[in-house]
């Protein structure tokens, strides 16, 4: 007997389907701007999925950084390249022949393992985990994980230099 899905599971299924469809749309759209808009859909549904898992802070960050800042950059790059419609690429049969089966095999192996090894995992339950807000995250980030936090600033610094170094050709 198939158990009746509760509201949380139903919400998950709707969002997950939406995310996957948007993801497919990202790679199948011919026009780069349409791909970028589909990506916003992916990011947004991921944010709600995070929220359903109780990761409130992560959901907010997902919206601010990914759906906001990174999408802005994507659109800038699309305008910079001014690519317009994508030319139909030369059919690379090798890529299709090897890539699609390996992707399906990878997904198949992972789903097989998950279904076989973790058959009784409790499903999504919105509100079960409440330690994902900014306060619990901050408490951990600034005590237990303070070194990764500080070191992240170095990563950001490298990205700043990288942006300057690699984009400077056109500026000078």
């Amino acid at each position: 007997m198939i158990p009746m899905p509760n509201l949380d599971v139903l919400g998950f299924l709707v969002l997950a389907t939406f995310a996957v469809l948007c993801g497919l749309s990202v790679i199948l759209q011919k026009h780069a701007v349409a791909s970028a808009l589909s990506l916003v859909g992916v990011m947004g549904s991921l944010a709600v999925l995070y929220l359903m898992l109780g990761a409130e802070f992560l959901a907010a960050v997902q919206m601010i950084v990914y759906a906001g800042a990174i999408m802005v950059l994507f659109v800038f790059v699309i305008m910079l390249l001014n690519s317009g419609s994508e030319r139909p690429a030369k059919a690379r049969y090798f890529a299709y022949l090897v890539g699609i089966p390996s992707l399906l095999a990878f997904l198949g192996v992972i789903s097989f393992f998950i279904l076989k090894e973790l058959p009784n995992t409790s499903s999504v339950q919105f509100g079960a985990f409440t330690q994902g807000g900014p306060a619990p995250v901050g408490r951990l980030l600034f005590t237990q994980y303070l070194l990764p936090f500080e070191v992240t600033s170095l990563l950001v610094l490298i990205a700043i230099i990288g942006a300057m170094v690699l984009a400077k050709k056109e500026i000078d």
Binding site: F113, Y145, L146, V151, I161, G162, L166, K168
Partner: protein, 486 residues
């Protein structure tokens, strides 16, 4: 909560990274303040050298009081210190060997040195990381600065291609690694290697899912060390990147990647060694074969050295496969000897290649001995070490690795590895023969004498190669003590 606050011991154990970060930031800030400089900034070069020397001193000083730091994020032990000092030393050598190239291309500036130091800081974090999150951040710091360094010649299409390929494939591999880390966290509830090790040793973790996560992490690490079948990026990246950067990439980041590879698979996954060893066995063999046989057919010396670097990663994989203290020590010794040799060899390549890296064919090395005897001599020392001729570091490196493999009962892998070394001798000897017996090529005739800094780099690398080849015991003893990972 107070116990979580860092103490002075934490800061001392993290001192090398702090020094590198501070000096790197200074270099970055001084870059716009030192004006145009016409592509030549010796003051920043000396600051970078001073920073690296200070960081090395800090790393050695930190070893005086080994132990964990920052809530178990880092673990300063012999193994970590060995690799920290190794990558900092590689960086020092790279600075000396890069100066002629950078001045010639009018690219000597603060950004290059800042990125180099930041990259080394990331590699030091990798060397001492004892926790998967900080390990990942260290790897990203090292990788992202490497991507930028590979594309440092903005006007050069080869350099752009190299950076783009490296970045795309590298990010893809990082995704695999992160997915593996996420699984491990889900299975064991921890990202600390010691806790993971204890949880796995206690049993009760689903073995198939554990194998899946180990496999995902293997893919990420294998990419970073360019082990087959994840090596395809290496030839294009090393060929297109500026020669000094290729030198650094094939020595520093590779050694640090092997450090985390060894640490994760001998500590956290140590209890399941009998299950990952067969995969490593195949990967090691495939890496050696692909590297050596592809190198045979190369006419571009940078591409040849790239394939040779893949082959050498294969030898180190043999040591990792043996999963023993002897094997770890052999891998450490090999990586140390290989780092100096490779930086030196790429330094000679960048010298002969001349402006714009025009002369990178093996034929361009014809008659180098007649015109520039020092360059030819050090190149011969480096290549004999890469072959594994006695009296060079490479001989003992290979000797210890195959001894460790035999101790672990891997007779076939040893035999096939030795056959591979014999194949490899051909393409190294070919360059030596061309240098010594052929008439000088146009490229060689046009060569200006090398600067004293570059000559110092060559001689230092060659001296280290010979010193390790004649007196290997001191380093090997340290490595054997440090190789006991907990």
């Amino acid at each position: 909560m107070n116990s979580l606050f860092p103490t002075s011991a934490d800061f001392i154990r993290f001192a090398p990274e702090i020094v590198l970060t501070v000096v790197g930031t200074l270099l970055m800030l001084l870059e716009p303040l030192t004006g145009d400089g016409k592509g030549e900034k010796p003051q920043l070069r000396w600051l970078a050298i001073a920073g690296l020397a200070l960081a090395m001193a800090a790393a050695i000083f930190a070893y005086g009081d080994p132990g964990p730091a920052f809530n178990g994020m880092l673990l300063v032990d012999g193994f970590g210190t060995f690799f920290s000092v190794l990558v900092i030393g590689t960086g020092l050598l790279t600075v000396f060997c890069a100066q002629d190239y950078l001045i010639r291309e009018k690219q000597e500036n603060g950004e290059f040195y800042a990125l180099l130091l930041f990259s080394i800081a990331g590699q030091c974090i990798m060397a001492t990381a004892n926790e998967l999150i900080i390990l990942f951040i260290g790897l990203e710091i090292s990788s992202i600065s490497s991507y930028i360094l590979a594309g440092f010649l903005r006007e050069d299409r080869r350099s752009n291609e190299s950076a783009l390929k490296y970045f795309l494939l590298g990010s893809f591999a990082t995704g695999f690694l992160l997915y593996g880390v996420a699984w491990i966290y889900g299975l064991t509830g921890s990202t600390n290697l010691a806790t993971i090790q204890a949880t796995l040793a206690a049993g009760g973790v689903n073995p198939r899912l554990l194998a899946l996560s180990a496999a995902l992490m293997f893919v990420g690490f294998a990419f970073k060390v360019s082990a087959a079948p994840f090596q395809v990026w290496a030839p294009d990246v090393y060929q297109g990147a500026p020669s000094p950067v290729s030198a650094f990439l094939s020595a520093g980041p590779k050694a640090a990647a092997f450090a985390i590879f060894l640490r994760v698979f001998t500590t956290a996954f140590g209890s399941m060694a009998d299950r990952w060893a067969p995969v490593f066995w195949g990967s090691a063999l495939l890496t050696m074969i692909v590297g050596n046989f592809a190198a045979l057919r190369q006419d571009n010396i940078k591409r040849m050295l790239a394939y040779s670097s893949i082959a050498h990663a294969g030898y180190v994989m043999v040591a990792v496969t043996s999963h023993s203290t002897v094997g770890t020590a052999a891998a450490m010794f090999y990586l140390a000897s290989y780092a100096f040799v490779n930086v030196g060899a790429f330094a000679v390549v960048s010298y002969v290649a001349a402006k714009g890296e025009k002369h990178v064919g093996i034929g361009d090395f014809a008659g180098l001995a007649a015109r520039q005897p020092l360059a030819a001599l050090v190149m011969t020392i480096f290549f004999t070490s890469l072959i594994g001729v006695p009296l060079t570091a490479g001989f003992f490196g290979k000797f210890y690795i195959f001894k460790a493999a035999l101790d672990a009962g891997m007779v076939w892998l040893t035999v096939l590895g030795l056959l591979n070394s014999a194949v490899a001798a051909y393409y190294y000897l070919r360059v030596i023969v061309v240098m010594y017996t052929h008439e000088p090529s146009v490229a060689v005739n046009e060569l200006e004498p090398a600067s004293s800094g570059l000559q110092f780099g060559w001689v230092a690398a060659a001296a280290a190669t010979l010193a390790l080849g004649i007196f290997p015991s001191a380093l090997l003893e340290f490595a054997s003590r440090a190789a006991i990972l907990r």
